[in-house]
Subunit: 169 residues, 2 copies
Amino acid sequence: MSAAADDSGDDLDPLERQVVGFFVDGVRVLGLPRSIGEIYGLLFISRDPLALDDLVRRLGISKGSASQGLRMLKSLGAVREAGGNGNGERRTYYEPAVELKRLAGGFIREQIRPHLDSGKSRVRQLAETAGAVEDPDQRKFLSERVERLEQWMRSGGRVLPLLQKILGQ
Amino acid sequence: MSAAADDSGDDLDPLERQVVGFFVDGVRVLGLPRSIGEIYGLLFISRDPLALDDLVRRLGISKGSASQGLRMLKSLGAVREAGGNGNGERRTYYEPAVELKRLAGGFIREQIRPHLDSGKSRVRQLAETAGAVEDPDQRKFLSERVERLEQWMRSGGRVLPLLQKILGQ
DNA sequence: CGGATTGTTCAATTGAAAATGAACAATCCG
DNA sequence: CGGATTGTTCATTTTCAATTGAACAATCCG
């Protein structure tokens, strides 16, 4: 039960802090919560898979945060349960997915696609509303703008698969 | 001074509300403040350029928000000052840039590049820290992970120009 | 069974980012 | 000049999403 020089000690060492900080900033750019970056960051720089409890202890976050964070990371395909935890271990350990392809794919699928799809349907609605405008000049102007939005949505749809392809190596 | 059927009236009509709502959600996905979406949305669906005061009145936002919002939109290249406002008009009017290429370019230049660049330099730092680790096995593991991050950064650097190209038509 | 361990849920709290608004330029013009 | 108009800045307030923490499953095992 000595704590010194024990990797399950409570505090992060400087390198771990650096990495966690890197990912905290990284996920903020993506609009994801800080805890996601902390959890993924620590997993990324840990040799061995970690359990929920490890994350709580080492990062000093609540069980709630860790649980929800892991759920989101799982849904993004950014972490997976580590199979080979030997012995009669009951709790589940997690390890990071480190292939950019997989990470980008999950992010696109979970965070971007849904917005793009709902955007498309809102533009369709918009087209209807604009089509019902009385004044012909005004209607023409509005149609042009709506047409522009449709263009944007099409570009978006074309970009995503391409993105995945490029990041896939 | 009659307000009815006057486009400078205070409230948004249903179509305008729809469009503004569309952009509010859009910019949230990009991690930009709501007011940015409101301002750009109203400009996008207005036939004539609008001045700061118009935005304040029609959107019901503060002068401060409008001023800061316009500044950011200008820096993103998403709005421009409308030249041809005739008469002895002193205040400046704004119109939206509607080319996706330009919008994406501005966003990449202002919001993504800086993060990517700072990310690269942080990874360089990381490499140093990892190189100074005593235990050879641990050092090897860390080097692999850092190498992975360098890979990511390179991919990011390659993706951006490509993105701009695809969105450029 | 029962209590120990592991994980989830969700109402309440917190904190970080955005919006406000009032004071302060800057420019115009009679 | 002086006061009217237009726009900016920035300390305070507000807002809303993230986090907490306590209650609640669920599973294990002696």
